[in-house]
């Protein structure tokens, strides 16, 4: 099962979602649904941590773009963290790195997120 959320962590004012090792089929759409639930529940600050994710393909990108669009619509803030180089390169060639803040570690992303007004 790819793209499944292993777990998530709710901090004061921010949610951290941990993705599974693959984000490469439409089952990964559950990640988008989960983000929907948080957004509908009033959460506006979301960090997605990719530490466990080895592969993001075009399907995974479409799911992440869907999340980026939804967060943007609700004036929320979305950070990515712990992206492996191969996945970061994909974001780069698709021009997405200009539209999303990517941090080396989850802690760094949370720190920036919590400091963000």
């Amino acid at each position: 099962m790819s793209g499944k959320i292993k777990n998530f962590k709710e901090l004061e004012g921010c949610v951290v979602i941990y993705t599974d090792n693959y984000l490469n089929d439409i089952e990964g759409g559950k990640l988008e649904d989960e983000c929907d639930v948080f957004l509908n529940g009033g959460k506006r600050k979301i960090v997605i941590d990719f530490a466990n994710t080895d592969l993001v393909n075009s399907i995974g990108i479409s799911i992440l773009v869907g999340i980026m669009e939804k967060v943007k619509k609700r004036n929320g803030i979305l950070f990515f963290s712990s992206l492996k180089k191969v996945n970061r390169d994909i974001f780069n060639i698709l021009g997405l790195t200009k539209h999303i803040s990517i941090f080396q570690t989850e802690e760094e992303a949370i720190g920036k997120m919590l400091a963000h007004e």
């Binding site: 490469n24 399907i59 479409s62 799911i63 773009v65 997405l96």
Partner: protein, 406 residues
């Protein structure tokens, strides 16, 4: 990242997408899931947040979504496509940038307004051999970048793959439609076939006031014995039909002979005993889907000791099917009233079968028949023979032990 490195990475990513798309389109998954995955791949490849794939309905001249993402619930959304529009799309084949000058997209007519509702930016017709199958519509890139010529080329390749898949699915759907149609026709014909044979069996039995239901019972007993002797389902079905028709030759016998309650004259015997041969003559002209039916009917009054009729065959010359039919026919004859005598008790009938093993009846067949009765009296499994016996026979069977016969 240098420009060359960037272009190489982009190329590799596109190739990965194409390889995954080919794998997806040839996978045995549910078709709608495949289309959805394909749409996600296209959208991801171009970082588009909105997109849909439409399938064209040639009868209604409309395109309906079969997969969508980022455009909300568009299940009821329908794009009307005029003949001119379709002609234009088929001629064009390549992707269309809907934001380009109006002239290039004018042929879309009302369809363009529909596509604007879902904020489609690029439209890709799905065409196989001049046959218009549908559309891919995708929105702006999330990055805000414009679609390049390379993007258009890649979209054309992807669209071709998806169009072929849609075309195959459409062919498969038509084929399945024909299969269902033929299957129903076959089932209807089968029903007519069985109903006709049953009606025929009823007509045969109607000739004899004493043998009402005889052919149906013999048919059931034959099938039960065949099943007990591990015949295949198809062979069992064959002997079931043979049982229904085993007395068809009686159609040619004078009714007064069949129903005569006093001893028959020699000539009358000869006429009555000709019914297996007449039955064979009638049935050998019928093309049955099972083999051996006419022979079983001809030989159902043969005996293992060669004293039967019409051919006085020896044991080795009589088929197992005919031997089964002989036991089934004799058992029913013994357990039902006849114009010249009342029905025997079940004990007497079973004793007759046992005593005549090796002379008139085949031992294995008789033992199989007893085995069925024992199981059914012991309430093992669904009864096949007991429901056809008279109340008196069932009562006798349940109260008299079958020990001596098994």
């Amino acid at each position: 990242m240098s420009d060359a490195a960037y272009r190489l990475e982009r190329l590799l990513f596109n190739m990965d997408t194409l390889a995954e798309l080919a794998e997806e389109l040839t996978s045995p998954k549910d078709f709608h899931k495949i289309v959805r995955s394909s749409l996600y791949m296209i959208m991801g490849n171009f970082s588009a947040s909105k997109g849909a794939i439409f399938q064209f309905d040639h009868d209604k001249k409309t395109a309906k979504p079969i997969a969508s993402k980022g455009v909300g619930d568009i299940n009821d959304f329908v794009i009307k496509l005029e003949k001119e529009t379709i002609r234009g799309l088929v001629a064009l084949k390549t992707p269309i940038d809907l934001s380009s000058n109006k002239k290039a997209t004018s042929f879309l007519g009302v369809g363009k307004t529909d596509l604007e509702k879902i904020k489609a930016r690029i439209l890709v017709p799905l065409v196989v051999r001049e046959d218009f199958l549908g559309l891919i519509a995708i929105g702006e890139k999330f990055s805000g970048e414009v679609y390049s010529k390379d993007d258009f080329r890649l979209l054309s390749v992807i669209a071709h793959h998806i169009a072929v898949s849609l075309h195959n699915q459409s062919l498969l759907r038509k084929l399945m439609g024909k299969y269902d149609e033929n299957k129903k026709l076959y089932e209807d014909l089968s029903c007519i076939y069985y109903d006709t044979i049953h009606a025929f069996a009823t007509a045969i039995d109607a000739k004899d006031a004493y043998t009402k239901g005889h052919s149906h019972r013999v048919s059931t007993y034959c099938a039960a014995i065949a099943n007990e002797m591990k015949w295949s389902q198809d062979e069992t079905e064959g002997i079931r039909i043979a049982g229904l028709l085993h007395d068809v030759g009686k159609i040619a016998i004078d009714k007064s002979i069949i129903n005569k309650d006093s001893p028959l004259t020699n000539n009358e015997f000869v006429e009555l005993n000709s019914h297996p041969a007449i039955g064979y003559e009638i049935l050998s002209k019928v093309k049955f889907p099972w083999t051996g039916i006419p022979k079983m009917v001809r030989n159902h009054h043969e005996r293992l000791d060669g004293k039967g009729y019409p051919d006085s065959l020896g044991s080795d010359e009589i088929s197992l099917g005919a031997k089964i039919m002989t036991v089934a026919d004799s058992f029913d004859a013994m357990t039902t009233d006849r114009p010249y005598r009342p029905a025997l008790t079940i004990q007497r009938a079973l004793a007759e079968l046992k005593e005549n093993c090796g002379r008139q009846f085949d031992r294995d067949v008789v033992m199989s028949f007893f085995s069925i009765l024992r199981s059914e009296v012991g309430k093992e499994g669904k009864p096949t023979i007991l429901p056809f016996l008279s109340e008196r026979c069932v009562h006798e069977l349940k109260n008299e032990p079958l020990k001596g016969f098994l």
